[in-house]
Amino acid sequence: MQITVTVNGVEYTRDVEPRLLLVHFLRDELGLTGTHWGCDTSNCGVCVVLLDGLPAKSCTVLAVMADGHEVRTVEGLAGADGLDPVQQAFSDMHGLQCGFCTPGMLLTSRALLDRNPDPSPAEIREAISGQVCRCTGYENIVRAVRAAADRAAEAGTAAGTVTS
């Protein structure tokens, strides 16, 4: 099947098997290996991307379902002027260790801040609760998202959104 998907602002047209998962489309067809894969049952969330701006588990979406839609992956988070504030905050607060869950966590955090620029720690925990991190114990991820929100508030930007 021929599909056209916009990924990080670039339009890609490819012929794919109907059963191809979006995660494999991104990784194997487009070479965007920042999106990871970690389970067979839609539980771990290391595959999370933004599909039309909302977090989606790309292992649970067929590539053909993304036809005509917009996907944003971790490779598309940093803007021309550098890292997204969420990326910077993850490093500042040590919100990542092995880095395997990190792309998914970053994208969910970005989507959260886009709709709620001032989330409480409980709201942050709720937002990332569909994703597992085996390394950080989550606390520093929560602190990172809060730090990104604080920095955006100080800078007077809308939760530090980098317009793309």
Partner: protein, 788 residues
């Protein structure tokens, strides 16, 4: 309490942002499955649906006819090459692909190599295997029954017994027990669990048919040990094998062993002449790669009536699965379990451990356990609580009264360990103060009066990490020592090459900081190279929290060697005797004339220049070192957990968790705290959620993340950390290691808290709502078996 990276890079120790973050934040990490080699094929494994069955026939013809299939490898193919069985890390053998029988559900039966990953999976369905099911041994407590089916007939065994092993003085311990005023005993199961790193295991084998060189990219925590094992198993000369560990998406011990899929990938590459990638899926990870724990323990603790602990006695039944593949130092079949006298000044202690085969997956050390110290700490910390409960003593006071005192260090335990240093009462006091222990007990009493279930759990642990010494500890005959090589380039920038392998611990940053501390250069100017056996010195790798204690020591010592060479070069530059020079961070100064000095960069350039060098240096600025630890290091910690239990549902909420760790000198406090956070989450997972159980036929009941539950952000509280710092006297920088401390110390704190809340003497982990509910009714479950 808040962790902040320092604004500027410290010239040595201190919190700083991690150098590895830059690539991970951009999705530019390079994990195993991200690697694509030219002409690479993809593989999948057909696994046994039965826990125990005879293989009658395997028909691969339909799979071989699949247009995208390049090769199908069976046990028979391997038998023809002498590769059907491989040695385990514990002097047993394990089937690479089954030939005679399958011995656990999920065991490897056939290996398909195809053009793409989907085709490889499709072809699995085309293989016909006829099995003759056999009764399975599932319950370890019946593995030695006279009528139990024999699992290892391949070894001509007549029963399922693997080993008996003991430690301590049995007679002295019995004597202590016979004179004790009070004794408490308890049966405890530490259930089978799984490290389940977010990235599963995999490898890409590539045999160059012309040069005969085998390159294996693989998810390994121990690249050098893997290379040697490949050489021994496959008979390929070791200099023709290059093992490369790329970025690793978490290990926790899961990535120590060599799995059948790795060996099959090598064979697949030899057969097809192309690189072969094999990556397991999640259920394969949970069903067939190294599990952890599975210790059935009967423990007893003896004390005087005034609360002085006297001794501990324990009998363990260890379920090792179908092949004995536990990754322990070879003289120690129960690992370091015999540190179970813990943090207390006991007169005598003894354990006996019996290992048995069952129809379950092999493995048995993984999951951040420091060679079975998780089991040991759980045992002693539960026994102390059980005793306190029986006698109506406060569990925190009982611990405080019996902790080894600071003046007793170095302390020789009843089991022969020499603990290096610590101030245990101070560590416990710090934790109790941080938690507000007395206030918590008051709050609990008030809540109890209202029928609310609040619990407070305390644990104190002593870790023993950094194995060797090599004369006592080896794996497959390889002594547990690690190498480091440091080279300072002419412009003063350096490269450090290590035998250990990071899986997220931040080695790229923290090891650069050790060099920075010793040489006075910026950590940003030190590149850390790991994982590639052609580029790094030999060593046993990263597990058992050994990186900082062993490779960290090697790094400090190699940097000191370089510094002493730099001194000689500087003496030539400044025309003074080496002894007239003083090292002041980053430069050598002439004593009494600090204006006459040379920086490390100037010295490095001089060392590579035309300068006439004095005796003792050959030019250039580099050194190598192999560190053989004189003793283990002994981190410790005191943890306090506060839980609320819903009396209607048995649901546990961890409200607070206070952790005070003493891991000696902290190289990068931010990273240390991150390590502790992760381990605390593991503890909550084990105590409340994670267990691999089996039904009576040996069906695996935890084969996906729907059934094997991992803690999310909702189950974890906001951790409250404190610290005490007692440097290790024998480690060059006084660091003790911290990677597994929290995983070791936290499960008993959580369990003690839950049982304190519901007023039950003991119930086994995981304390799921169902288990808590049953425990409240006086009928706790056997958590390793299916609920009946």
């Amino acid at each position: 309490m808040t962790t902040h990276a320092a604004a500027s890079t410290p010239l040595g120790f201190g919190s700083m942002r991690r150098k590895e973050d830059a690539r991970f934040l951009r999705g530019a990490g390079r994990y195993l499955d991200d690697i694509v080699l030219p002409g690479m094929l993809h593989a999948a494994i057909l696994r046994s649906p039965y826990a125990h069955a005879r293989i009658v026939s395997v028909d691969t013809s339909a799979a071989e006819a699949h247009p995208k299939v390049e090769a199908v490898i069976t046990g028979e193919t391997l038998a023809g090459l002498g590769l059907a069985w491989m040695p385990t890390l514990s002097h047993d053998v394990q089937a690479v692909l089954a030939t005679d029988k399958v011995r656990f559900q999920g065991q490897e039966v056939a290996f398909v190599v195809a053009e793409d990953r989907y085709a490889a999976r499709d072809a699995l369905g085309l293989i016909e295997v006829e099995y003759e099911p056999l009764p399975a041994v599932v319950d370890a407590t019946h593995a030695l029954d006279p009528d139990a089916p024999v699992i290892r007939d391949d070894l001509h065994r007549t029963d399922n017994h693997i080993f008996d092993w003991e430690a301590g003085d049995a007679a002295a311990t019995d004597e202590v027990f016979s004179r004790a005023d009070v004794v408490a005993e308890c049966d405890l199961l530490y259930p089978r669990s799984h490290p389940a790193p977010m990235e599963t295991c995999g490898s890409i084998a590539s045999m160059d048919p012309v040069s005969g060189k085998l390159t294996v990219h693989t998810t390994t925590q121990a690249p050098h040990a893997h290379r040697t094992v490949y050489a021994l198993v496959a008979g390929i000369p070791e200099h023709k094998i290059q093992v490369i560990a790329p970025d690793i998406g978490g290990g926790f011990g899961n990535k120590v062993g060599i799995y059948p899929g790795y060996v099959c990938a090598v064979v697949g590459s030899i057969v097809t002449g192309r690189p072969v990638k094999w990556v397991e899926d999640r259920s394969e990870n949970l069903m067939s790669t190294s599990f952890a724990r599975d210790y059935h323990m009967h423990g007893e603790i003896a004390a005087t009536k005034d609360g002085t602990l006297l001794g501990v006695r324990v009998k363990v039944l260890a379920d090792h699965g179908a092949f004995n593949g536990t990754a322990q130092p070879s003289k120690l079949p129960a690992g370091l379990f015999h540190v179970f006298s813990g943090s207390y000044d006991l007169r005598a202690a003894h354990c006996s451990v019996t290992g048995v085969y069952t129809n379950k997956c092999p493995g048995g050390v993984a999951y951040a356990c420091s060679f079975r110290i998780t089991e040991a700490v759980y045992l002693i910390e539960r026994l102390v609580d059980v005793l306190a409960r029986d006698q109506g003593w406060d569990p925190a006071e009982l611990r405080m009264k019996n902790l080894i005192r600071p003046e007793q260090f170095p302390y020789r335990t009843a089991l022969g360990w020499e603990y290096d240093s610590g101030n245990y009462p101070k560590t416990l006091r710090t934790a109790l103060d941080l938690a507000g222990y007395a206030e918590l007990r008051r709050e609990q009493a008030e809540k109890r009066a209202r029928g609310e279930l609040m619990g407070i759990g305390v644990s104190f642990f002593t870790e023993a990490v950094g194995a060797g010494p090599r004369k006592h500890m080896d794996i497959l005959g390889l002594g547990m020592a690690d190498g480091a090589e440091l080279r300072v380039h002419p412009t003063g920038k350096a490269v450090l090459r290590l035998s250990c392998m990071t899986q997220g611990q931040g080695h790229q940053t923290t090891f650069a900081q050790i060099v920075a501390e010793e040489l006075g250069i910026s950590p940003d100017d030190v590149e850390v190279v790991q994982g590639d056996t052609d580029q790094t010195p030999f060593g046993l790798g990263t597990y058992g929290s050994r990186s900082t204690p062993v490779s960290g020591a090697a790094t400090a010592l190699v940097a000191r060697k370089v510094r002493e060479r730099a001194r000689i070069v500087a003496s030539a530059m400044l025309e003074v005797a080496p002894s007239d020079l003083e090292f002041v961070k980053g430069r050598f100064e002439v004593r009494g004339d600090p204006a006459a000095s040379a920086s490390m960069a100037e010295i490095a350039m001089a060392a590579h220049s035309a300068l006439e060098l004095p005796e003792g240096v050959e030019g250039h600025l580099d050194a190598t070192c192999v560190y053989n630890p004189p003793n283990l290091t002994y981190p410790c910690g005191a943890y306090v957990c506060v839980v609320d239990v819903d009396p209607g549902t048995g649901q546990v909420t961890v409200r607070r968790f206070v952790a005070v760790d003493d891991c000696g000198v902290r190289i990068n406090p931010m990273v240390v705290e991150g390590q502790i956070h992760g381990g605390l989450a593991d503890g909550i997972g084990m105590a409340l959620m994670e267990a691999l159980a089996f039904d009576p036929d040996g069906n695996h009941l935890g084969a996906s993340f729907m059934d094997y539950l991992l803690p999310t952000a909702l189950e974890c509280p906001s951790w409250e950390l404190g610290e005490t710092v007692t440097p290790s006297p024998h480690h060059p920088i006084g660091a003790k290691g911290v990677g597994e401390s929290a995983t070791v110390g936290s499960p008993p704190a959580v369990v003690n808290a839950v049982l304190d809340a519901i007023g039950v003497r003991h119930a086994d982990m995981p304390l799921t709502p169902a288990q808590v509910w049953r425990a409240m009714q006086g009928r706790p479950l056997r958590t390793d078996l299916s609920v009946t």
